[in-house]
Subunit: 166 residues, 2 copies
Amino acid sequence: LYDTTLGDDVSSAFPDDELRQLLEQLVRMGNLLEPGATARHDHAGIQVSTSEVFALGRLAEAGAQSQQELGAHLGLEKSTVSRLVAGMAERGWLSRERQPDNRRLYRVALTDLGRDVARRVGADLREHHARLLGGLTAAEREGLAVGLSGLVRVLRDHHARRHPAR
Amino acid sequence: LYDTTLGDDVSSAFPDDELRQLLEQLVRMGNLLEPGATARHDHAGIQVSTSEVFALGRLAEAGAQSQQELGAHLGLEKSTVSRLVAGMAERGWLSRERQPDNRRLYRVALTDLGRDVARRVGADLREHHARLLGGLTAAEREGLAVGLSGLVRVLRDHHARRHPAR
DNA sequence: AAAGATTGAGTTGTCAATCTTA
DNA sequence: TAAGATTGACAACTCAATCTTT
C-alpha cells in the first residue's frame, strides 16, 4: 500500500510547471479567443479583422483621437494603424481629418455608420464572450478574474521594459 | 495618509464585464507571452519563431512523427507546417525521411543538433516563464491555474465544434 | 478517389526608410 | 530637427488548388 504511484510525474516535478504548461497552451490557443484572429471573420453579419474590432471599440469609447493614440491603446505599430485606419475609412466607418491646429496629426473619428457597426459588433462580441465564460464553473471564473488581472499587469510591465518609447 | 489614489480604476460595473475586459486585454497582449510572437526572437542566443519553439518542444517530447501530427498538436495548417519544417530542416535541426511503409508520410525527427537547440531554448523559455510567474501573488497563481485550465478546455471545445475535421 | 505534403495568392503584422508639417 | 503618418520589404499565418503516393 502507501501509494505506489509515487513518481507519477518524474520528468518535470514542481507545481509551477503546471502553470507554465497552461501558459503555453494559452499562447497556442491565443488566436481562438477571437475566432480566427489571424484573418477576417464575421460578427453580426459584418466582416471584420480582430484589430478592426478593437479599433471600433476604442473609438466608440474614447471618441476622436490621433492614430498614434489609437495605436498605443491597441498595441500596434503606427504603420499598421495607418493601413488599418485607411481600410476602415474606405468602408465608411470613420473619418480622417487633419487636426487644424497641428496638421501633422489626423483626428480619427467614427462616422454614423461606424458607430452603428461598432454597436452591432460589440453586442455580438459580448454575447460570444458570455457564451464562452458560461462554460466555466464559478470557481474557474473567479480564478480567472484574479489570475488574469495579475498576468495582464505582469505582461504590461514586461512589455514596458522592452519598449520604453511606446 | 490613507491613500488618496482611490478611484484609479472606476471603469465599468458588473463582474462579468470585468472578466470580458480581461479577456480582451489578454487577446491584445497574447503575443507578449512569447516575446514578439509575430516575428523571430532570441532564446539563449538562438533566433527562433514561436512556432519553431513549440515544434522543438513537441518533437523533443514526442519523438518522430508526421507533419500532420505535428500540425495538429501545434494548431497549425498543414501548409504552415510544411514551410515551418522545411526551414528547420535547412538549419539542420531536424531530418525528414519518407516513411518506408507509406511513402506519402514524412517522418520528422530532431537531429542531434536539434535536440541540443531544443534543450537550450526550452531552458530559456522555462526561465522566462518562471520570471513572469514570479511577478504574481500566490493567490493570482492559484487563480490562474484554476481559471486557465477551464478556459483552455472551453476554447478547445469551441474550436473542435468549428473545425470538426482537425 | 483519398491522404499527405506542397505551392500560390491574400491578410495582418513588423521594422526601416521616407514624406510632410511644425 | 523632430513628430506624425506613409510606404516598401519581409515574416508567419490561412485557404484553395495541385502534386504524389496509395
